[in-house]
Amino acid sequence: MSDIKPDYKLSLEDTRLSKRWVSWVLFIGILALFLIVPLASLTSDDAATTLRNSPLPSDNAWISGHLSKAHQIPDLNQNCQACHVNAFEVVQDNSCLSCHDDASHHFDTSVHDVTKLDGARCASCHIEHDEPSSIVRRDDKLCSSCHADMATNGVVDTDLVDVDSFGKEQVREGAMPHPQFKVSMLVPQGNADATTWAMGRFSLADKPTEKSNLIFPHDVHLNPEGLDAPQGNKVLACNDCHTTDDAGELMRPITMENNCRTCHTLVFDPDAPEREVPHGEPDTVLLTLEEYYSRQFLRDSLGRKPTPQEVRDFILRRPGGAVASRAEQALNLASPWGKANSVAQEIFEKTTCKTCHEVSVDNSGQHLSKWRVDPIRITEQWMPKSEFDHFSHRTSDCSLCHAASTSEQSSDVLMPNLDVCEACHTGETTHENKTPSSCVSCHQFHQPEQASWGKALEFGSAAEIIKQINLAGANEVSTAVSKP
């Protein structure tokens, strides 16, 4: 062939195309642009910043995925070393705790000898650069990996029941369903004068009753035909009394002033509807009544201003004078006391107070008023171990979860039980249009009452600290306890 026409280019090898130099250019170019130059820039902050602000690839081209929304701030987004402090070392908890120092532990590490979380880093659960997944774990395995079998996982000293997942449809054979809900309820202890309140945990399976000392029939208040209120007939709805907090999550506490008094006035004399007894101690109530009826006696009962002689008689009441006899005086003076007492009896024992309060009589004479009112404490947060958001349930009627309209007693616990929630919610995966709800839909991993994740005590350290305290004396208590 070469003899015939040596300059024919009949093969690609004869052309200017080259595999070799293009290979070198690509190999060296990519290695330099994406590895060597960004790596070299990290030797100084200025160089790193300059490269990051240039169109050339910097270590920002190494980001394997977007940061989660909350972390998309320039300090983090543009600065890999904010978290990746040391090269070839996984991100350490200190990087996270430098901002999130309030992240609390899951349990009291000084009490529970649980090793399952030993060696767990923040990043073990909070995976970054993994959008669109959430940086917060929401899978049931986060919880069930321990809670499905607490004993095997080293948790023996607990009242907690094993649980796999929520939703009766989700429970596989042999797996543990979610136990019936427990409520945290205040229980009064002692008598009316010295009542203390203890927080007790009660399973709704045992149909617990509340003892708040309040007399309140929900059914009467929710009468669809209305109530006889001072303003006339009034049909009450739940949210006339129960309103959510600013976050829309929990209900504000019910108070006499805010919720009851509009209808339940403390008027004691129909002739003086503008006058009310104070909502307070029985002694104060009685004093108010006595003062009112004394004044009424002095002024209104006479129907006129007292004459100077009557005033003199009242002030200069001496025995054996020319003024009215002492018997007359006593009768006159007893009148307002008697009136006040009879009104007090009426309102304490039959009407105003008795409508809502448990009232008892104490004749020991210890107090000005013989009527004693049992103190009231209404449980405010029934399920503190779970998170519930009323706002996200606002489209549902209250009666879907709270059977208030048929509740005759204030002792009825109107919290929804497991069945109520499971009517609409199921576990991680949906079932028959039920809302998928994982453990963390209601429960938190980081328990606010526990120590900071970074400062959690080691198991047994509480006992060790107490021992040290006993040895060293009470003065060193604070120092010993504050040691991480």
Partner: protein, 294 residues
């Protein structure tokens, strides 16, 4: 050849690749990592390691092809494994990434991997399709044989041209005949032949160089000349030249098609090989970076 690559030892490596793919898919389906599947889970690291080792091994085919004395299996076996395991790499790499992509060095490595593999698919396609076409086009001849024939036809044409103008015409056509050429001319199969027509035969052309693409111009000029001649020696010569150039035209078409097929059979390697080295660089960067910012 193509059949033996794909069917090498009863497609032994097809089954190896299928097994690797099935194991990878099963593991990916079974694995439930925290968050989304990604390269940073244990399965991600495993698939990544397998993928990286595959890439390095696939690159070694280039070395194996050159080391003729190697006893490490036949080149045919290596190529067969290269094809099947390279295809499986597409799956392994994708599962390693957990279908997460972005504008970063990691996805650069992935994209380069995909482009290299797809260019490889094109290579398999041309190896399956073009050797048959090549044989058919050559009609039992070889490229050297075809070129030899052209040489002979040209010599004959020179001898036949019996007037100065015909001689000049023939010489110009032979001289301006182009076969092959740049990579584009080889690939497109279009020779850029040129010639100038003697003034006497075409005054308008002014003896300027014109395209003689597919030798149409020289055949046109000769046919035109023949139509002007009533008979005689020149007419006989022109008739013979017409037959000669028609034969050359056919030969040239065959040669160009042959060159074109050879170019198509090789052109993908000019992407496949350099991009493989780009992939190797991106892979090194990817691995270093992943552990640098662990």
């Amino acid at each position: 050849m193509y059949q033996s690559i794909l069917n090498f030892k009863r497609a032994r490596y097809l089954w190896v690749a299928l097994a690797l793919s099935i194991v990878s898919i099963a593991a990916y389906w079974w694995h439930q990592p925290v968050g989304l599947p990604n390269g940073g889970t244990w399965l991600g690291y495993t698939l990544g390691t397998v993928g990286a080792m595959l890439i390095v091994w696939l690159l070694l085919l280039g070395m194996r092809k050159r080391s003729y004395r190697s006893n490490m299996g036949t080149v045919q076996g290596w190529t067969s494994a290269h094809v099947y395991l390279g295809t499986a790499l597409l799956l392994v790499g994708t599962l390693h990434a957990g279908f997460q992509f972005g504008a970063n060095v990691h996805t650069l490595a992935y994209v380069l991997m995909v482009v290299v593999i797809v260019s490889g698919f094109f290579g398999i396609f041309v190896y399956m399709r073009y050797p048959n076409l090549m044989t058919y086009n050559r009609s039992g001849d070889t490229l050297d044989g075809l070129l030899e024939k052209i040489h002979k036809v040209d010599d004959r044409s020179r001898r036949i041209a019996n007037t100065p103008n015909l001689s000049r015409l023939v010489e110009s056509a032979i001289d301006g005949c182009q076969i092959g050429g740049s990579w584009w001319q080889q690939l497109s199969g279009s020779g850029r032949s040129i010639m100038s027509v003697p003034f006497a035969m075409d005054p308008d052309a002014q003896e300027k160089a014109q395209s003689n693409k597919d030798h149409k111009l020289v055949i046109d000029v000769l046919a035109n000349r023949l139509s002007q001649l009533g008979g005689g020696e020149e007419a006989g010569a022109v008739t013979s030249l017409l037959a000669n150039f028609a034969a050359k035209q056919t030969l040239l078409r065959r040669i160009r098609r042959d060159v074109q097929i050879r170019a198509i059979l090789k052109i993908w390697l000019y992407f496949h090989v350099p991009l493989s080295f780009g992939l190797l660089a991106a892979l090194i960067a990817h691995v270093v970076v992943v552990f640098f910012y662990w």
